[in-house]
Every structure is written in C-alpha cells, then in structure tokens.
C-alpha cells in the first residue's frame, strides 16, 4: 500500500531545474514538506492531479518554464496562480503560497514587484 506523506505534490514534465529549486525553497521556508514527481498531462492536469493527490490539498504543476498552483476541490483548469517564464522571486512566492494555502495564511504577491526587498 502506498502511503502519502503530508506534503505538497509537485508534478513536473521536463522542468527548468533553477525555477523548480526556487519553488521548493519557497515551500521549505514556510516549513511544509513537498514531493517532486514526473507525471503525464498538460499543465492544468498536472496541477489538478497534484492538488488532488496531496493529502494537504495543494499542488503545483510545472512543464518547462510554465507553472500553475492548484488547490483541492477547485475545477480543473481554474488554477489559483499561473506563471510563464517567471523571475526567481515569483517562483519563491508561488512555492510559499502553496504552503500558505494549507496554513490558511494570506498569499504573498506573485505578479507585482513591490513585495521583494
């Protein structure tokens, strides 16, 4: 029997390793576990499946330099956040937000530059 750890699932297809590392750092800083696995499907499917597979209820999909964050029970394709070829800080905050979704904390800003110091 496969037992899932309480972790955020990240389903990837040929991910950009640098961006992925930032996403993971964002989750780690918030103190939440994560798992990275390869998975089949388009970006929406990756994020949707990841969120539903995660027992914490949050998941991230990534193909190349495109990223999407999803939460359980949201319909497929209705991603909470989507990024295309983002900057490092955006990835960091996307990761942090997937963790904050679980912690029920307000999201960090992803699209504006004002929050980075």
């Amino acid at each position: 029997m496969v037992v899932n750890k309480p972790a955020i699932i990240i389903y990837v297809q040929k991910p950009d390793e640098d961006l992925l590392r930032e996403v993971c750092a964002g989750i780690e800083e918030e103190g939440v576990l994560f798992q990275v696995q390869t998975h089949e499907g388009d970006l929406d499917a990756l994020a949707y499946d990841a969120a539903n597979e995660s027992m914490l209820g949050a998941g991230i999909g990534m193909t190349g330099v495109r990223l999407a964050m999803q939460m359980q029970r949201l319909p497929r394709g209705k991603n909470v956040f989507e990024l295309n070829a983002p900057a490092f800080w955006q990835c960091r905050n996307l990761g942090a937000n997937s963790a904050r979704a679980i912690k029920k904390m307000p999201f960090k800003s992803i699209y504006q530059t004002e929050t980075i110091n």
Binding site: A25, E28, E29, E30, G31, M71, R73, L74, K78, V80, F81, R100, A101, K104, M105, P106, F107, N117
Partner: protein, 604 residues
C-alpha cells in the same frame, strides 16, 4: 398640485425629500435621495450636491427639476465639526540598537549573545569569541549556510540575522542549531563589532528574555543605570516573536513625553487641563467650566497647534459671513487612544504603540450663510428657494413620523461631525444642544489604532461587518458563523479579513487579526457615541434628569450603523428610556428626518 422639496445639508451628507401638496391640503410624500455634501457645510459649494440630490429624487418620479415649485432649506445649526489626533509620547532611538518584529517564519528558538559580525568578514573572526553573524540578501541561503558550516568548527557562532526571508532554509542546511531572525530590512545599519543579544520565541509564544528589562540586563551584562535606560526597548518588544537588542554604549533610547500642553476652556469659569491627564479628566474639566465661549490650547504645543489647525480649516466658512471673522470652538470631545508609530531609527520597520489623544471639536459661527445658498440655488434652478425652519425642530418633526412615538420626544441626531439632541415638548417648545464628536471621530480612531493607511478603509471597517476567508469556498463571519459559497472565492481574498459591503467584498490590506479589528471598532463607537449620547441628553432633559425622557429616537447617518443603536439602547435601558433607530415616515429608516420635517412644517 404643487411639488415641494425639503433640503437638509449635513456635515457629510445632503438629504432631500419631495412631496406633493394639493389645493385642499392633501399631502403626499413622493421621493427622497441623499448625496455627499460638497464643500464645508453652509458654504456655496454645497449647491452642487443639493442639485445632484434633487435631480436624483426628481428622476425617481420621472419629473424634470423645473417641475419643482418650492425648495425649502433648513436653517442649519451653525456648528461644524472637525477632528484631529496628536500623539503625546514618542520613542526615539538615536543609534540603531534593536530589532523587534514578527517575521512570519524565523527559525531556531532560544536566546544567544555574541559580537556582531558581517558574513563577508567572517574570515576575520577569532576563535573563542561568541559571534552573531549578519548576512545581507545578496548571499543566497545556500551560500550563507555553506560559509557558516565552513567556519563553525573553529568559530563560535551563536546566532544569525538575515535580510532575506530565508531563516528556515538556512537552518535546514546548518550543521549547528541556533536562533535565526530574518526579514530585517535595513541590515546594513547593524553596527558591526557591538555586543548583541538575539532571541527567537518558541512557536505559538512570544519572546521572554528581551521583553524584560532584567532579561536584557542578564544577557548583555548591564548595571542598574543601564537597565533603566533599556526599559523602553523591553516595552516595545513585548509580544514579538523575535528580537535583537544591540548594546551601544553611547546609543540613546528614550521615551519622550512631548510637550503636549494645556487646553484652556473659556467658559462661565476659566479652567485648564493638561492633555496628559487623559480624556476623562479633560471631559470632567470641560463640564466644570459651564457654558463654553471658546476653547484654546497653549501656544507652541501639540494641542495648541491642533486646535489652531481646526480653527484655520473653519476659517473659510467665517469668511463667507462678513463681520464674523472670529472662529470659536464651543465644544470638544476628547478620547484616549493608542497609535502605532514607526520608531525613529528602527532596523526592520518596528512600531511602538504611543499614547495619543483624539479630539473632535465643534466650531460655532454666528450664523451660517444659508440665505446665500438659497439665492444661488434660486438662480441656478429657477425655482423659488427659501430658508425655513431650525434644524433641530425640523428633525424632531420628522422623527415624530416614526411609528410608536409620543410627546415629549427626544431625538439624538448622530451625524458625521456632531451629535445633536433635542427634546420636543407637547406644548411645541424645543430644547436643543450640539455636541462635538460623531462618525468622523470614530473613523479617525479606527484608522489610528489599527495603523491603517487610508481613511476610506477605516470608514468601511466602521460601516460593514466582516469575515475571514478561510478557504476558497467559505468564510468565518465575525459572529462566529460560517458562510459557504458555490463558486470559489477569488484567491486574492484568501486568508484575508474582508468587509462585507452590499454586493461586494472589500479586502483589508493590512494583516490584522479579525478579533483585533472587532475590538477596536466596537471600542471606538462606544467611546464616542455612548459618552456623547449621555452628555447630550443630560443637557436637554427636563431638570437634566434622563429619567424624565420617555422615548429617544435615533436619527442621522450614524443611526444607520449596524451596532451603534444597540449599544445606546443597552445603556439607555438603565434609565427606562425607550430608545431605538428611527423610521421616518415608516419607510425611510433613520435618514431624511430634517428634510421630512421641512415639508411637514410647510403644511403647518
């Protein structure tokens, strides 16, 4: 049949009401509307708002403005309210010597003491000396961890201060456990080489050592004199999750008591009171001075400047009325409050709750130039406009249309700028009073106590109940109940406190717990309205005995509030007074009392 309009210009809103009068005295209310008052009450710019409100009301009955036969303006009470706030203490740090804030994710726990050392200079460190390392955000978490791990075998590194939000990331890669404070914005201001104490609280608790003067003394080895001087630091660190205190021998931290000054009441008796004494004492002194002619502040002090500012901003009204250049403040309402003020010289944007006094003042002019407004209105609309009726009498007449009332009837008109009370006796005599302090003072208190950036947010907090978005499908309302949604909530609202305005949700940008907002909101309303209601009713009550008033009708904008009427009802119930929100003509709610009274008085 004639169409008649009643117009009431208030401090914040202008209300109109339209009625039709037949030949045989037959009378019917047709429509009403309200708009923001344009300009200061009683000045010519008001005409703009009046026209807009009239247009809206006439539009509802599909008539052009020109169909009006008569416009009746109220003889507005010649009082205008204004508010001001001034802090009376301030904390100044002349040399950066502390960090105390709530980063969302510090790492490690416990306290440590050591000499401050920047990461780039770590090679200069000497073995055997305890260090606290500070790293700027130009170093990535991996670099910070790698460099430290490399030096940890020979150097005694006790703690870490980071500029970036990476405490947990660094901790997970370090070979030694230590407290780590992150998100320190101005890390370059950290004085290298000085002795520092660092503390990170266990999850769910706040710091214990650095928020205690003796704790600081223990860690940094201070003598009694020095311990006394760090007390303001300890005070400002209470409740923080992480903190750093740096020992700077010549650093100077002090809590200044600003020269707040005295308020001078020129009344039946001259009386003065220091603003430091607090709101209760100020109000007591005010009451003891009897009827007030003017109120002044000591020159070149905070309160002096504050009262002068209020007078200056009122000067434009006086100018419109020749021969009355002197502005006199005839009433104030003082309220104690706390304001979070950013500490001068802070490293991470720390704030300190400073004592402050909020004051609403009321300016009495001899007479407002209402006649001029009426003339201008007549020119622009080509409709006859007259000034008719005193505001308080009109409001009482309007309030009488509330079902279930009888004479003698007291009204409490709670507007934006002032709280007015009147008692209408069965013989038609009316006794009135105007008190400073109403809705705008409440907004100001909410804004300062919560440290909000915009007054608009404060006003929205005052007006609407709130909830916290706990998931994308539900929110917890302020009364504890849950509301569920079929469609998912916009993720921008997630985890935030939102205000439930009709038809939309407004996000509170600041990260303040809902409980705190609730407490501040209720407290502000109570401080202003309960005190003012009792003060005003006592003046107008027969023999100044509240028990001789059988019923009180609440009217005005603030009576529409979702909790103020209940608060007053609770307090006034002790005096066996029937008190409740008015319902003008059985349909209008607490609004439109004066405008309605103006129409009724036309009928005689």
């Amino acid at each position: 049949m004639k169409l008649i309009a009643g117009v009431d210009i208030g401090n914040s809103t202008t209300e109109v009401c339209i009625g039709a009068v037949g030949e045989n005295g037959y009378f019917r209310f047709l429509s009403s509307a309200s708009r923001m008052t344009t300009g200061t009450k009683g000045t010519l710019p008001n005409v703009l708002g009046i026209k807009a409100a009239l247009e809206e009301a006439m539009d509802r009955i599909h008539q052009p403005l020109s169909a009006l036969d008569l416009v009746r303006l109220n003889e507005a009470a010649p009082v205008i309210g204004d508010t001001a706030m001034e802090t009376i203490t301030e904390t100044i740090i002349t040399e950066s010597s502390m960090i105390g804030h709530n980063p969302s994710t510090p790492a490690g726990a416990g306290e440590a003491v050591g000499e401050l050392l920047f990461l780039e200079n770590i090679w200069k460190g000497k073995p055997g000396v305890p260090y606290i390392v500070a790293a700027a955000s130009k170093f990535s978490y991996e670099e910070v961890a790698a460099r430290l791990n490399q030096h940890i075998p020979e150097l005694d590194v006790r703690g870490l201060i980071l500029q970036a939000d990476e405490a947990v990331l660094v901790e997970n890669r370090l070979s030694k456990k230590m407290p780590i404070v992150d998100e320190v914005r101005h890390i370059s201001r950290v004085p290298e080489g000085k002795l520092a104490a660092i503390e990170v609280a266990l999850p769910g608790t706040s710091i214990r050592m650095l928020s205690n003067p003796y704790g600081i003394a223990t860690l940094l080895g201070l003598n009694a004199e020095e311990t006394k001087s760090v007390t303001p630091i300890a005070k400002s660190l209470v409740g923080k999750r992480s903190a750093v205190v740096i020992r700077t021998p010549h650093g100077n931290i002090r809590e200044n008591i600003l020269p707040a000054g005295e308020i001078v009441f020129h009344g039946e008796k001259e009386a003065n009171v220091n603003i430091d004494a607090g709101a209760d004492k100020i109000m007591e002194t005010l009451a003891s001075a009897g009827e007030i002619r003017d109120i002044d502040g000591e020159r070149d002090t905070n309160v002096g400047n504050m009262l002068r500012r209020i007078k200056t901003s009122m000067a434009d009204v006086a100018k419109e009325h020749e021969g009355d250049s002197e502005i006199r403040i005839t009433d104030i309402l003082a309220v104690d409050t706390l304001a979070p003020v950013e500490i001068a010289g802070s490293l991470a944007g720390e704030t300190c709750m400073e004592k402050a006094v909020g004051i609403a003042a009321m300016v009495k002019t001899q007479h407002l130039p209402m006649q001029k407004i009426a003339e201008r209105l007549e020119q622009e609309l080509h409709v006859k406009a007259v000034v008719a009726g005193v505001e308080a009498v009109m409001a009482s007449l309007g309030a009488m249309t509330t079902p279930g009332t009888k004479l003698p009837l007291a009204i409490l008109d709670m507007g934006g700028g002032s709280t007015d009370a009147a008692v209408l006796q069965p013989d038609g005599s009316v006794k009135t009073t105007h008190q400073a302090g109403a809705g705008e003072l409440v907004s100001m208190l909410i804004q300062t106590e919560l440290g909000l950036h915009s007054r608009t947010t404060a006003e929205q907090i005052k007006k609407y109940p709130m909830g916290k978005v706990e998931s994308l499908f539900h929110m917890r309302l302020e009364n504890g109940s849950m509301q569920f949604f079929e469609e998912s909530i916009d993720p921008r609202y997630y985890g935030h406190v939102v205000l439930l305005a009709p038809g939309e949700m407004l996000k509170v940008e600041e990260d303040i717990p809902m409980e705190k907002i609730l407490e501040v909101r209720r407290d502000a309303k109570r401080k202003v309205f309960v005190r003012n209601a009792l003060r005003a009713l006592e003046i107008v009550a027969p023999d100044h005995d509240l028990r001789k008033i059988p019923n009180v009708v609440l009217v005005g904008g603030s009576a529409e509030d979702f909790e103020i009427p209940e608060m007053l009802m609770e307090v006034l119930a002790d005096y066996r007074i029937v008190c409740g929100r008015g319902n003008i003509r059985g349909v209008e709610g607490p609004r439109n009392a004066v405008a309605t009274g103006l129409l009724l008085s036309y009928l005689g």
